[in-house]
Amino acid sequence: MKPALDVQVGKIRLRNPVMTASGTAGYGPELAAFFDLAELGAFVTKAVTRQPRAGNETPRLVETRAGLLNAIGLANVGLDAFLAEKLPWLRDRNVPVIVNVAGTTVAEYVEVAAALDAAPGVAGIELNISCPNVKQGGLEFGRSEPGLREVVSAVRAAVRRATLIVKLTPNVTDIVPLARAAVESGAEALTLINTLSGMAINATKRRAILANVSGGLSGPAIKPVALKMVYDVYRNVARQARIPIIGVGGIQYASDAVEFLLAGATAVQIGTASFVDPAAAPAVVRGLEQYLAANSFARAADLTGALES
């Protein structure tokens, strides 16, 4: 018997547990040249902000050992262009669309989220709270509990239809209380993790390689860190609260995805790996199906948290 791959994330039924990760899959057409987006569990867009953003100066990206360091700077077309030019194409692709939302004030988050919630074809809103909170002196919303509660509750009040997902940053002393705060403030699912803060230097030129000096580390290098956070949040928050976790960080092959599910994730996202192979996500779907069959699991959902101890 073919294993059942579908899983539930908030109000969204996913065909399978594999999504793209925000910022690594554009708005859809780019990857659609390589596979049918309907093969995905969900498609997650690049962050959308109120106004279009040009992003940081280049260099914006550099390779490190088994990782990538990026400081793209939330370059995006802005809310209006997203709704007018990007969403219509995406919503016809027969795949749940999750829009990643960023901002620097609570009002901006709320405005963007509300507009997306009202737009047909947006199944989920993923709050990227790893953005500097300009009102609180630049510390990211996601790195302080009050900041997180404020932004999530405010967005919660504005979002009626779409599933509200909160994406957590790993750059914190303890991710558990922040995950709990997100859930208490109304998150229907948690995505973890965003990138780790990092830096690269060119010894010969004696300069930081990124124009922005520092950036976010992604890719296989960070997988152990992401796995641990998924595991901790699952055991301490998500399992009891029955809130699904979307695991992300260094997933390249189906085995990586299985590891995240075992640690407690209900779904996974493929980020940097899509740069290596634009069709990495559907390959993970196929590998996952093989794994389930080979190990006699009837449903992908049965893997969630199924780590033996």
């Binding site: 040009a54 370059a75 290596v276």
Partner: protein
């Protein structure tokens, strides 16, 4: 604009080291392969490539059957992201088949892996990527300017322009004579401030080449722009279209000459760090002049380029990364 690129496993037909640190590779072009001068491929540099795994090896392809892990994660022998390489030429064999020619400068792990590939190995390539040189740019004479591995896209471009009846001259700038990956005729030497075109270079299909070396060991002593000016001093700047590929510094110097002599067209191949080359990572941003308040719009080298009109580009010279 979604990429028209596809993923190909291309078989290597030949590999030849050249100059101090270059390798020429030819790949078997599939029947439906279509590419134009200026486009590039994005190559996964791993050893061995997934598709070359012998039956003995552990199968770590993403879709390999289970189980395939053994307690440890599979540490792949590869660079993480792909490496962009220009399509140097697309040639037809006498036997009717076609081959894609690449010219790679060995500068780091990815290019080193490529240089170790052997005939019969396959390369995992995304391509063809990007726009292409406009072959119909005005000008009877076409001057092609390259530095280092920037010569790569100019080879096929030169052939295509010759085929269209242009009078093609290549200009090559390098640090010293050892850096030139071409089969030069014997007996060449310094020419000081004189631009002396060298003919009969097989890789260039007959187009003459003017060489500049920084140490003066071969051709004009100085930068490629010095060679260009010396040549122009002999032939004038009339009816010339420029085409260039090289580091920002070089392209920006060329752009200055273009402005000075009011040339109608100068197409340059730009570069930047490519995370994906399919338009999703937004790494390869380049500023192109525009009539807005910022004075520019952001374009992406991998999708909107790599070819731009020099006069449109704001050369920031911040990233001199990939063509050292």
């Amino acid at each position: 604009m979604p990429s028209a690129a596809k993923k190909w496993l291309l078989k290597i037909l030949s590999s030849r080291l050249a100059g101090d640190d270059f390798v020429w590779l030819t790949l078997d072009a599939p029947p439906d392969w279509q590419s134009r001068p200026g486009q590039f491929v994005n190559i996964r540099c791993c050893e061995p490539c997934a598709d070359e795994l012998s039956p003995l090896s552990l199968d770590d392809r993403p879709d390999a059957p289970w189980p395939r892990t053994r307690g440890l994660e599979i540490a792949e022998r590869s660079t993480l992201v792909r490496r962009p390489v220009s399509i140097c030429d697309l040639r037809t064999h006498p036997d009717g088949g076609r081959e894609i020619v690449l010219l790679v400068r060995i500068v780091g792990p990815g290019s080193r892996i490529l240089s170790a590939k052997r005939p019969g190995d396959t390369l995992d390539c995304l391509g063809p990527i990007g726009n292409a040189f406009n072959l119909d740019a005005p000008g009877r004479r076409a001057w092609l300017i390259g530095g280092g591995c920037g010569i790569a896209p100019l080879v096929g471009l030169g052939r295509a322009l010759v085929a269209r009846g242009r009078e093609v001259t290549l200009f090559y700038g390098g640090r010293d004579s050892g850096k030139i990956p071409l089969s030069l005729p014997p007996g060449l030497g310094p020419t000081g401030t004189q631009a002396v075109p060298v003919t009969g270079i097989p890789e260039l299909g007959g187009a003459p080449l003017v060489i500049a070396t920084e140490d003066g060991s071969l051709g004009v002593k100085g930068l490629v722009t010095d060679a260009l000016q010396a040549y122009a001093a002999q032939t004038g700047w009339d009816d010339v279209a420029l085409f260039g590929c090289g580091p920002d510094r070089m392209m920006s110097a060329v752009a200055t000459l273009v402005a000075l002599h009011d040339l109608p067209s100068c197409q340059v191949s730009m570069e930047n760090f490519m995370g994906c080359a399919i338009g999703v990572c937004l790494s390869c941003a380049t500023k192109v002049r525009a009539d807005n308040t910022a004075g520019f719009v952001t374009k992406f080298v991998c999708q909107d380029g790599p070819i731009f009109e020099a006069r449109d580009v704001i050369f920031e010279q911040k990233w001199e990364g990939c063509k050292p």
